[in-house]
Amino acid sequence: MIRMRWLVPTFYILFLMLPIYWLVSMSFKTTNEILGAFTLWPQNPTLANYRTIFTDPSWYMGYVNSISYVTLNTVISVSAALPAAYAFSRYRFLGDKHLFFWLLTNRMAPAAVFALPFFQLYSAIGLFDTYLAVALAHTLFNVPLAVWILEGFMSGVPKQLDETAYIDGYSFWRFFTRIFIPTIKAGIGVAAFFCFMFSWVELLLAKTLTAVAAKPIAATMTKTASSSGYELGLLAAAGTLTIIPGAIVIYFVRNYIAKGFALGRV
C-alpha cells in the first residue's frame, strides 16, 4: 500500500502536464504533421515556428508590447497600493472599512463592463493604442488586489516598529523607504506577482484598447488563419513562449508566495 503512494500524485501531475506537453510538442511539429496524423512526439522536429516568431516583427512585437504594459502596470499598481495599504493598516478614518471593501468590489465586475467606457475615454484623450492605456485600465483590478495583499502584510508588522523608528529620529519617508519597505518585501513580491499575472492573462481590455502599436501577444495569437491556411505549429510556439514569462516570475517569487499563503491573505 505504502509503495503505491506515488501513484496518485503522478497521475495528477501527468494529467496537469498533458496539455502543456501537447502544446510544446506541437510547437516543434510542422502544421502538416499536426493535421495529418496522431503522433506522440514530433517525427520531424523543426525550429521553423520559433524562427518565424523571432524574426517577424508582427509576432515578436506582440511579446514586447505585452511585457511593456504588464511591467508598467505592475509598477503603477504596486506604487499606488503601497501608501493606500499603509493608510488602511495604520489609521482609522471615517468609512475606512467601507472604502476597503468597495475597493475589492472593483474586482467583481467583469472586464467587459469597463471595455466600452475605457475605449471611448482613451480615444477621446489620445491614449488609445498606447502601453499606458492598457496599463492604466488594468490598474482597475490590480490596485485593489495589491492594496488587499499589502494591507495583510503591513498589518502583520507591529505599529511599534513605526514608533520605534520615529523615536530613533527617522522621518516618515526615511522610515518608509529604509525600514518599512524592506520589512514587507515579501508582500511586495507577492503583490507584484499577482499584478503581473492578472495583467499578463487579461485579454479583453488589452485587445479593445489597442490596434497596432501596443497590440498584445494574445491578440496576435487569435489571428488563427492566414493566407496560407491554418498555422497551428506557429500558434503552438507562440503559446509556449507565452507561458515562459509567468514561469520565470513564479520561480523568483515562489518563497514569498508561500509566506503570503501562510499569512492568509493571498
Binding site: 507591529p158 511599534q160 516598529l161 514608533e163 520605534t164 523608528a165 520615529y166 523615536i167 530613533d168 529620529g169 527617522y170 522621518s171 526615511r174 525600514i179 524592506p182 520589512t183 518585501k185
Partner: protein, 364 residues
C-alpha cells in the same frame, strides 16, 4: 532634568483613555507605572514620548513646554513589551540606527555600539539578524538601541513581560546597573507588584486611566492612599470584606470580631488584607479564624495559593509550604487582622497596618 505632566489627558472620541493627570518624574531612580492591562500605562507612555498629542494639558521637560513637539526632536528612547527590532538590519545596525540618523562619525558609532553591546552581553551576535536571536537576546538588542544614545527620557513598557521567568530575573537584576550612571528620567511600566517592589524607586499606580497614588514605592505599598491603589498593588488580588466598627470592636459577622485600630471611629469600612496574611495554620493566638469553603488550592512548588469563599467573600491565601485541600471542603483559615487595611466607604485609606515593618505602634 525632570518630566512634568500638567493636567495631561487623552480622549479618543467620547472615550477617555487618560483622565487629567499631574505627575512630576525625577531622574536617578526608576519611575514605575503600575497598573493592570488596559489601565492606560502604554497610552501614558506614548504621551510622555510625544508619539501622541494629549487632548488636554501640557508636558514640560526641563522647564520647557514640549507639548506637541515631534517625537524625532525629543531625544527619547522606548523599549516595548514586544521585541521590536528592524528586521532588515543586523544587530549592529539596529543598535547603531539612532546614531546613524543623528549623523555621528563612524568611529564614534563603533565605539558606542561596542560598549553598549558588551554591557548588554550581545557583542557575540552583532552580525546576526534579529530573527536569528532568542527572545531574550532580541529584547537586549532593543534595549541596547534605546540606551546607545544619551536620551533624556527612557521609557520601558513592560520590557520583561514576554520573557520567560529565568531571563526575566536575569535582565531585571542588570537593569539598575544599566541606568546607574545616566542622567535621564527612566519610566518603567509593569503589571507586576513584585517587579515594582524589586526595582524600588517611585511608583505611580494606574487604575482605569487615573493615577491613584504616586510616591516612593515602599510608601505606596505600605500606605496606599486608597482602595484602588491597594488592589493594583496586590498580587494575588487583595482580600476584601465589608466590616463594621463600634466601640473599638471590628465585626465581620455577628460572631466574628477582633479589636479595631484605635484611630478608627465607628462606622462601616472596607477591610483589605493581603493574601499572605491569611493562612491555614494559626501561628499567633490573635489571628482570626474564618470559616471557609475551599474553591481551589493551587500548589506552586513551595507555595500554596488557596482560593476560598468565606462569609460571601472570595478570598485568597498565599502561604509557604504545601497545603493540599479538596475542592469544596470546609476549612478554617486564619486571618492576621493586625496587617489589615481599612478603607472608608468612599475608598480612602483610613488605617494601615502598624505592625511588622520594623516600626512600633508608638512610632507610627
Amino acid at each position: 532634568m525632570t518630566l512634568e505632566l500638567r493636567q495631561v489627558g487623552k480622549a479618543i472620541g467620547p472615550e477617555v483613555h487618560i483622565y487629567p493627570t499631574d505627575l512630576l518624574l525625577e531622574p536617578g531612580q526608576f519611575n514605575i507605572l503600575l497598573g493592570t492591562t488596559l489601565s492606560g500605562k502604554t497610552t501614558l507612555m506614548t504621551l510622555m514620548a510625544g508619539l501622541e498629542k494629549p487632548t488636554s494639558g501640557q508636558i514640560w521637560f526641563n522647564g520647557r513646554d514640549v507639548t506637541g513637539e515631534a517625537v524625532q526632536k525629543r531625544n527619547v528612547s522606548m523599549v516595548y513589551q514586544q521585541f521590536i527590532n528592524y528586521p532588515n538590519f543586523d544587530v549592529y545596525e539596529n543598535i547603531a540606527s539612532p546614531l546613524r540618523v543623528a549623523r555621528l562619525p563612524e568611529d564614534e558609532i563603533r565605539k558606542r555600539v561596542t560598549h553598549i553591546s558588551e554591557l548588554l552581553r550581545i557583542s557575540q551576535m552583532l552580525d546576526r539578524r534579529p530573527d536569528e536571536l532568542s527572545g531574550g537576546q532580541q529584547q537586549r538588542c532593543a534595549m541596547a538601541r534605546a540606551l546607545v544614545k544619551d536620551s533624556d527620557l527612557i521609557l520601558l513598557d513592560e520590557p520583561l513581560a514576554n520573557l520567560d521567568f529565568k531571563l526575566r530575573e536575569e535582565l531585571r537584576e542588570e537593569l539598575p546597573r544599566l541606568f546607574a550612571e545616566r542622567d535621564c528620567v527612566v519610566v518603567y511600566a509593569t503589571t507586576e507588584p513584585t517587579e515594582a517592589l524589586l526595582l524600588g524607586g517611585a511608583t505611580a499606580t494606574l487604575h482605569e486611566g487615573r493615577i491613584t497614588d504616586f510616591g516612593p514605592t515602599e510608601r505606596v505599598y505600605r500606605e496606599p492612599v486608597d482602595l484602588n491603589t491597594a488592589r493594583v498593588f496586590s498580587e494575588p488580588p487583595m482580600n476584601l470584606a465589608t466590616v463594621e466598627i463600634s466601640n473599638g470592636v471590628c465585626r465581620l459577622t455577628e460572631t466574628l470580631s477582633w479589636p479595631a485600630p484605635a484611630i478608627l471611629s465607628d462606622g462601616k469600612y472596607t477591610l483589605g488584607l493581603r493574601p499572605h496574611h491569611v493562612s491555614p495554620v494559626q501561628v499567633q493566638a490573635d489571628w482570626v479564624p474564618v470559616e471557609s469553603t475551599i474553591k481551589v488550592a493551587e500548589l506552586a512548588g513551595s507555595e500554596s495559593i488557596i482560593h476560598f469563599e468565606s462569609y460571601g467573600n472570595q478570598w485568597v491565601s498565599l502561604v509557604h509550604g504545601v497545603h493540599p485541600f479538596e475542592t469544596g471542603a470546609a476549612a478554617v483559615l486564619y486571618a492576621d487582622m493586625a496587617h489589615a487595611f481599612y478603607f472608608s466607604p468612599d475608598g480612602k485609606l483610613s488605617a494601615a497596618p502598624t505592625v511588622g515593618y520594623g516600626r512600633t505602634k508608638e512610632g507610627n
